[in-house]
Symmetry: D2
């Protein structure tokens, strides 16, 4: 099996003003990411306005990833989790066919009370059994309302084709327990501010919104940590926390899209009901980008 | 505008063992509901495995509702809320074209933090402006993670085409405040155990999973309340609480489908990841149906 | 055993500007409540700044209740729940000695995870076994973080000396299930806006902050409900919701104290860390009191 | 001002079978901790059954700490936070008089909605202004229901006598943001499993239940981290997570007391309503202690 690790950007989906996908801008953005110190991208992730995309649009976006990254050293991971088990399996198989190296899979979450340990284990096991590519579990309770129990993760980690997870809950205690129980499981930090703490307990990298615009300092954190230069790792980590917050919890996808525009990518509008950020939020992000030396 | 009130069943979607929709059974179920003391049905609602249905399947289910109810006194309300504003508008227009009398609309909920008062007001206003049929807001925080603020509901209720709401949070305090501020707003109880308390503060009826199997006692609650026979209303209300719990919070859609089988409807399996209920749960429901005099 | 029902005011503790208890004002307030259509008072309740009172202060406040109410038709219920079981038992015995007709008992709540069904059942059973007066369970999750499970309440209701509860969670669904299982249990609404819905499912009354200032309209709700005049009951109920919200969730104890001042009671300052309400909040309450015809 | 850092054990209060404090055992335990690689202890902390202790008992426990630690290199920190501001100030002054080096202060938490940014800032500022010893803020939302906002912590950290905090929420993202904004603030991990991640972002140590029984491996984590031996730090950290969980979230104070008995301290019973752990839980802890090399 492939051995995933490192830094991944969950990339936004660019839209024209009329909300159609701007495929030309998407390809240009991907070209730009090739020059960044990233290991690859995730499409679609939470930052990609995933619930506003049709399956057909996902296929087109994957084709673009495959096309642009061909011959480069970059990998792309597909986001394939939807509510129905059969649809999730189908979409994952399509992603494999398109060339994804792995699938990052949201849990079904509408019937929250029904998403018991048993139901989640069956869902992911059934998926992994029928997927041509490795599965990464995606835990993001702020969006799904589902927070995987430790015992569910421990059991899923036993499946040979469930190789790891992205954890956006920043629960270092649960992750430490998971890594104690399943030392080889590939844990990725789910937000840029948690990268260094996650590395300290054995995570292999991060899938982080802020990686879209700040791959260079994130790489510095990773390199400094691995070289034992902890002071440097900590200083760079702390320097990113406000910017990370601005493009995630504080201003969300519209904030990230605005920040991308400022550093040379195409950002563009979100799809409704999301709204562009206002002028005040723009000023906050302008300052943070400058402080981080990104503009 | 039409004047909605009374008892509605949010009807399950019947599936064959291979997970295809069983349209023949769906039509037979609808025929059976015609003979029940209901005002109509909602399709799809939360009990319809709404997140597992494609848009195309929804259109076919609506055609079946229109076909079976034609010429009857029953009405059908369409569930049309999806994540993207444009898709919600489109689907609502399709429902109107198919003959729905109103649309019951879930809020977008993936980006929970971004679903502010302003964003929700814009989303529903935009929808109501472009919908040929009246809109009912659907508040079900247990599934969406979104619990509408009072001020948002008060503002939405000012729109001439947003006529009411289904509240599954059973928050009598918030509903009392809403009905004080907007006396004509049509509030429906969202679960069978809350029907009488909701009527007491001015609700006009209920959209309740248990109505699929217990329309007769629910009608008795409504009739007794309106006639001022409060003891009778209370006794019937209390007699239903355990059964109501069993087919909603306790065993969910699979529990409801099992109960439907026992009282003469087609139930059938859920779509995965949902699982059929086990034998122990079946025994619980058997007892409750017998206690309620429904078998 | 006594048979509690009706309307109770959980009365605030009045303080001088230097935070000492103003016993003279407390007795004057009690005298004034005698002339109101209340069945009695609770001291201390959540509105009494209960966590800021010493046990010695509670004894003095109970002596004042006993003294002022002697010979009147009013009853007083003591709030006696503290964290430790032994202390709760001791305090309840003191309250009985002072003349309380019953005790309203908060659950231990610091070690939330440890407050399991078993622990709570043992705690309340041990208390009831050693209490000379009947016990009312007090469920107020907004303050304690403990929300009693249905099964715990059903089991506690079997004890001959646990006669009822105050439920401030306004969970009509759970209360309906409880009253189905234990028809004789005395359920009191815990907030004024829930009185009518609670009565509709069989509650016997309410213990409500707003009863301190609005006993007359609350009594009208109760009387109209019992006489089957549901429209009147509903209209009065809805007329109180905003005022109720202002003196509870919105402005808390300091809001209630301000409102009391406006209608002729002594209010006074709260103990720190609570702060008096500001001028804006005062204006809101002024308007609501006028709309409710209380000033 | 003193410069706190390192490893502290929040020590349990030992009781006799009749629930009286076992002062002789407490002093013997303290003697034993002197020989452990700890910087000191906290008394009372959450593990001390703090809500079951009277103020008088706290004074006696502090006298014991002062007595036993006199002449040793160990420090003791007093837990002094209660609900009322005046009481908290008084208790902190008493602790200072008894010889505490600092006070770890829980927030008032009963009136959760009223504990706004402004109220908390006033409370802690007023305390710090009148305290002879430095203040540490104690954030433990699982017990208090209060989770300090970043902006509140940032503001409190500006006060010259509020020198740091214990954070039991394990929120590395918030702590990173705090340490970016206030680099000199002394942050202590609040649970043993979070020690290494907290150190990675600049925390100065931990106040951890598991330190009562596992000071040696915790010290190894700290030493290895400071020496840049990250693999060793991580391995020791992961080896402790299950034991840490057992004596905190899983079995609570009674679990910790049992574990203490097994490694040579006096444990004894908790005060009611807490119950001793059962035989099954004992076996789990026995195994974990053996795996950790502590028995």
């Amino acid at each position: 099996m492939i051995d995933l690790s490192g830094l991944y950007a969950p990339v936004p989906t660019p839209f024209h003003e009329d909300e159609r996908i701007a495929f030309d801008h998407f390809e240009a953005n991907l070209q730009r990411w090739i020059s960044q110190p990233l290991d690859g991208v995730v499409m679609p992730g939470s930052n990609s306005e995933i619930p506003y995309l049709t399956d057909e649009e996902k296929l087109h976006l994957w084709a673009a990833c495959a096309n642009v990254f061909q011959g480069s050293s970059k990998q792309w991971i597909a986001g394939t989790g939807v509510e129905r088990t059969a649809d999730t399996i189908h979409l994952t198989q399509e992603a494999a066919r398109a060339g994804a190296i792995a699938a990052l899979v949201l849990p079904p979450s509408y019937y929250k009370r029904a998403m018991t340990h048993e139901v989640l284990v069956r869902h992911y096991t059934s998926l992994a059994d029928q997927s041509p590519i490795p599965i990464l579990v995606y835990n993001i309770p702020a969006y799904t309302g589902i927070d995987f129990e430790l015992k569910t993760l421990v059991q899923l980690a036993e499946h040979p084709d469930i190789m790891g997870m992205k954890d956006s809950s920043s629960n270092v205690v649960k992750m430490a327990a998971l890594l104690k129980a399943r030392p080889g499981f590939k844990v990725f930090a789910g937000t840029g501010s948690a990268l260094l703490p996650y590395l300290s307990i054995g995570a292999v990298g991060g899938v982080m919104a802020v990686a879209n615009i700040a791959a260079v300092p994130l790489r510095r954190i990773l390199d400094a940590f691995q070289a034992g230069r902890l002071d440097e790792a900590r200083q760079v980590q702390l320097s990113l926390v406000e910017l990370n917050s601005a493009v995630t919890t504080r201003y969300g996808v519209p904030g990230l899209k605005y920040a991308m525009e400022q550093v040379g990518f195409y950002g563009g509008p979100p799809r409704l009901p999301l709204l562009r950020i206002d002028v005040e939020a723009q000023s906050v992000i302008d300052v943070l980008l400058e402080e981080a030396g990104l503009v």
